[in-house]
């Protein structure tokens, strides 16, 4: 296991616990995510991975513990959800949550909300500076869509509901990138995709990583995790049961047991 580099930590949890009426969805979780890396969280269904994302985004209140973010050690548990996006976190959803009635371009622009400055009055009368801001935002949004080749950009004025399933997943990633986050949380980015599509998304994730984004992803698809993750956390029953390189973690007895049961371990 590599030594934790304190200056390079972007997200740090200590003793994070979430109790849903007696069920410990997250149980005394400690973890650190390193800046500049692609980190993956694996674990069986119900092991608390998505709950962890929801706690980080402050969609749920944590029962106890701490989540601090970035060099300024911002305490995320005290911030309202929209401010968490503004300090530099953005996420995708396991069950896609695009704004289906908005166009592809508008979905990206929503991701850029925190960078737009004009107020209600300016939106009503649209002074020149507000129009210029809108125009710049649109150019920026098209640039982000072009990260995915022509797939999204060719549909930019169509409603998001007209996108194919795989493109909806890409669209969610694009919407995330639009908010210029320091850390991107991807919740099962290739769920429901075929192997070819999975390979393409791996490339997309690497491209975004190369553009300078730190990525924390949840994934069941071990091809993807092995392909992209530099560091892996394994969860079971709301706790971290192993961490390290993919090879170490995937062969860790606790992980094998969590996925396959004790029987498999004996054989």
């Amino acid at each position: 296991m590599e030594p934790a580099d304190l200056d390079n930590t972007i997200l740090k949890c200590q003793g994070l616990t979430k109790n849903f009426g007696g069920v410990l969805a997250i149980n005394n979780l400690d973890l650190e995510v390193q800046k500049g890396k692609i980190t993956a969280i694996i674990g069986p269904n119900g092991s608390g991975k998505t709950t962890f994302f929801n706690l980080v985004m402050h969609l749920y209140d944590a029962t106890s513990g701490q989540v601090v973010f970035g060099t300024e050690n911002t305490n995320l548990l005290e911030l309202p959800t929209h401010s968490i996006n503004r300090v530099g976190l953005a996420r995708t959803f396991q069950t896609l949550r695009l704004f289906l009635n908005l166009t592809v371009l508008e979905n990206v622009l929503i991701g850029m909300s925190s960078q737009l400055n004009s107020g209600f009055g300016a939106a009503l009368i649209k002074p020149k500076w507000a129009r210029e801001e809108d125009k710049l935002a649109e150019e920026k949004a098209l640039e982000i869509l072009s990260l995915f080749g022509s797939r999204l950009i060719s549909m930019c004025n169509e409603p998001a509901s007209s996108l194919s399933y795989a493109n909806r997943r890409r669209m969610e990633i694009a919407r995330c990138v639009a908010s210029q986050p320091k850390l991107i949380l991807l919740d099962e980015p290739v769920a429901g995709m075929n192997p070819t599509e999975t390979r393409e998304v791996i490339k997309d994730i690497q491209k975004i990583h190369e553009a300078g984004h730190t990525i924390l992803l949840i994934e069941h698809d071990m091809t993807l995790v092995e392909g992209v993750a530099e560091h892996v956390f394994a969860f079971d029953h709301g706790s971290k049961i192993a961490e390290g390189q993919f090879k170490e973690v995937s062969n860790h007895p606790a992980v094998v047991e969590a996925y396959l049961g004790k029987q498999a371990l004996k054989q």
Binding site: H82, N85, R91, R97, F99, F120, L124, D134
Partner: protein, 305 residues
């Protein structure tokens, strides 16, 4: 015969414009909060009373130009109603936000009663009908026996302009974009950096201002306003919003004109129909709720909360 129909078309467009403006408010509030805001009818009523006060004050200040007075009525009534709507949201709806729909609904009924009774008690002679001011009441263009008076012409044009303004705001500005995103998925919008409190406040500004404008139009058209006229308007606006599919702004615009069409057809086709027009509107509401509860228009992937 054709003249009767032309006359009914003009009447329908006039009242349809008012219903549409009220319905847009209902649909916007439902979109962002899943709230059926029955106090919205009282905002409409207040719009009428604010307009009346503006007309009285203008008289007192010696302003005689009718167009200026009417413009002032619209602007001030919309401004006051926008603020009152935002205050209602802040102090009545925010504390119950996220609670079961029924609690929010009952809260809105309570807010409505407070506003209605306040006007009745504190407005001079609030319990009595008040004659409304109209600068154009005796002037009209006649095409044969079809009468298009200037008030109606002005009302049709101003409602279309306001509806077009709402369309621009909703489609072309970040305010509208944030509203649409919030009404589709509030939590996802928050996680994209949208401050839901601001969006909801903006929505109440917009919806209540439109309700206030409809109140002024109602006064100009019927030339009489009452403290208890908000309730019937609330049900009609709600009906229009349901017809179009709650949460769907364009549906509400469509629904407003449908409700108006039902009214004018009742008046035109049934002997003494004007006594029964509300009955048919409410019948329509019941039919839509039973057979097409998500509205006559279907948008792709409409989320009904």
């Amino acid at each position: 015969m054709i003249e009767t129909w032309a006359q009914q078309l003009i009447n329908g467009l006039t009242i349809g414009g008012m219903y549409t403006l009220v319905a847009v408010g209902f649909t916007l509030f439902f979109g962002v909060l899943r709230l059926i805001n029955f106090a919205h009818g009282e905002v409409f009523m207040l719009g009428g009373f604010v307009g009346l006060v503006v007309a009285w004050s203008a008289e007192g200040l010696g302003i005689t130009n009718g167009i200026i007075i009417v413009l002032l009525m619209f602007l001030i009534a919309m401004g006051v109603c926008a603020i009152i709507g935002a205050v209602m949201e802040r102090f009545a709806y925010r504390p119950v936000r996220g609670m079961p729909v029924l609690i929010m609904l009952v809260t809105s009924l309570a807010v409505g009663i407070v506003v209605r009774e306040a006007v009745k008690e504190f407005f001079p002679e609030g319990a009595n009908p008040h004659a409304f001011f109209s600068p154009f009441k005796y002037e009209s263009i006649n095409f044969g026996s079809v009468i298009l008076d200037y008030t109606q012409l002005g009302l049709i044009i101003s409602s279309l302009l306001l509806v077009y303004g709402v369309h621009l705001l909703v489609t072309k500005t970040w305010v509208g974009r944030a509203m649409r995103a919030t009404s589709e998925d509030l939590d996802a919008a928050r996680m994209m950096g949208i401050e839901s409190d601001v969006v909801i406040r903006n929505t109440f500004f917009l919806g209540s201002a439109l309700g206030g404008a409809a109140g002024v139009m109602n006064g100009l058209y019927y030339l009489s306003i009452r403290f208890d006229m908000g309730w019937v308007m609330a049900i009609k606006g709600f009906t229009a919003a349901v017809i179009g599919g709650l949460g769907n702004v364009y549906g509400a615009m469509f629904g407003g004109y449908i409700v108006a069409a039902v009214e004018v057809l009742t008046v035109a086709l049934i002997p003494e129909g004007s006594r029964y027009k509300d009955v048919f509107v409410f019948l329509l509401l019941i039919l839509v709720l039973v057979f097409r509860p998500s509205g006559l228009l279907k948008t792709p992937a409409q989320k009904m909360g």
